[in-house]
Amino acid sequence: MDPVVLFFLLGVVAKLAKSDLKLPEALYETLSIYLLLAIGLKGGVELAKHPILTIAPQAFAAIAMGATLPLLAYPVLRFVGKLSNVDSAAIAAHYGSVSVVTFAVGLAFVLKRGVAYEEYMPLFVALMEVPGIVVGIVLARMLAKRELPDSSDSPGDVRLGGSTETRMGASNGTRWRMLAHEIFLGKSVVLLVGGLLIGWFAGPQGIDPMRGLFFDLFKGVLALFLLEMGLVAAGRVADLKRAGPFLIVFGVAAPMAFSVIGATVGYAVGLSLGGTTLLAILAASASYIAAPAALRIALPEANPSLSIGVALGITFPFNLTFGIPLYFEIAKRLHA
């Protein structure tokens, strides 16, 4: 297990033992801004070295996969888990999107083992943040229609905010615009994409004088952030107890299943062993920055403690500890 994971455990233990340890909010925000920017820069610098044409089909596959995963998760949540339509869609959206920090820990894992990987992989983080969220929302709205046949709207008309015109105080058109805004201009997408573009324009030499901050400190900052995530994740356990055993099982089974899909897609589009592992990790990870923020606005009827509870309380720690080495094994089998 990578030592950064020990910081996560420290956070979990401290929280469960009801320690007063608390990281200041501003530090939490600073660390997450740093990680997003640094990952973006790292990918951007590498992007400069590769022809876009090689990357394009891989990128397309990653986007398509992000958009497909929620479609697989939804029926399980809805019909096996008996969750409501919106809750199923919201959780599906989290799993369609990705966790930047899980990716970062995966990167550390791959680097430590000296496994070669496509160094532009951070690009895929940026690309896979959004599609899953959008699909989850559309799913919720389309299927809500079917469940409310008495609604005056035409069935094909996907609407945000459900049947009330004034939901969130805005008409439907405005709602979609607000949502697009929330998703594409949210902190994480702006910083990831911004970092990518800056890294791309500036290139390795341009970024070099900044590596003291953005690259040399990366692992330490990741450790600190995981300490904080441990505190937060342990605080979500109570939510999960209330939610019952299904979600707990889902939180372990879904990433395992999705990692197989991710690894298969990665292998199919020609990624190296490291790249395949990382794509498996992305598929297996569940968003807890971009998705919660967007869904709170887009699907306010969804209970955030369910989606965050399972994504942060189960899947995140599972991926950190058992998942990542497992996905590496899966990738190895494929590449064997």
Partner: protein, 100 residues
């Protein structure tokens, strides 16, 4: 000192609501607002401000009673079902009545 009665509406809720609340109170004719970052607990559990989704804000609006009523009704109808949210009214007095 010559003062004028006004209503103070205090709304405490998830910080995801901030921009919607600001937009709403302006739409209903309030001329200003003040927001502080807070933490707390209530019917929907503890909100410790430990991470993004766990933050709360406290918004204060001084305005005419009629406007305060409309804002409160709108907020309750629009957000109260799906968001952690509390609100209450208070009687205050101001000097420069035209400001509020």
């Amino acid at each position: 000192m010559q003062t004028h009665p006004k209503k103070l509406l205090v709304v405490i809720g998830e910080s995801a609501l901030e921009k919607f609340l600001v937009r709403d109170i302006k739409q209903f004719g309030a001329l200003g607002y003040t927001i502080a970052d807070v933490r707390g607990g209530g019917g929907s559990g503890e909100r410790e401000a430990a991470w993004e989704g766990d933050r709360s804000i406290r918004m204060e609006v001084v305005c005419d009673e009629a406007i305060a009523d409309k804002i409160a009704a709108h907020i309750l109808a629009t957000y109260a079902k799906n968001f952690s949210l509390s609100l209450f009214f208070n009687d205050v007095s101001v000097v420069r009545r035209e400001k509020f």
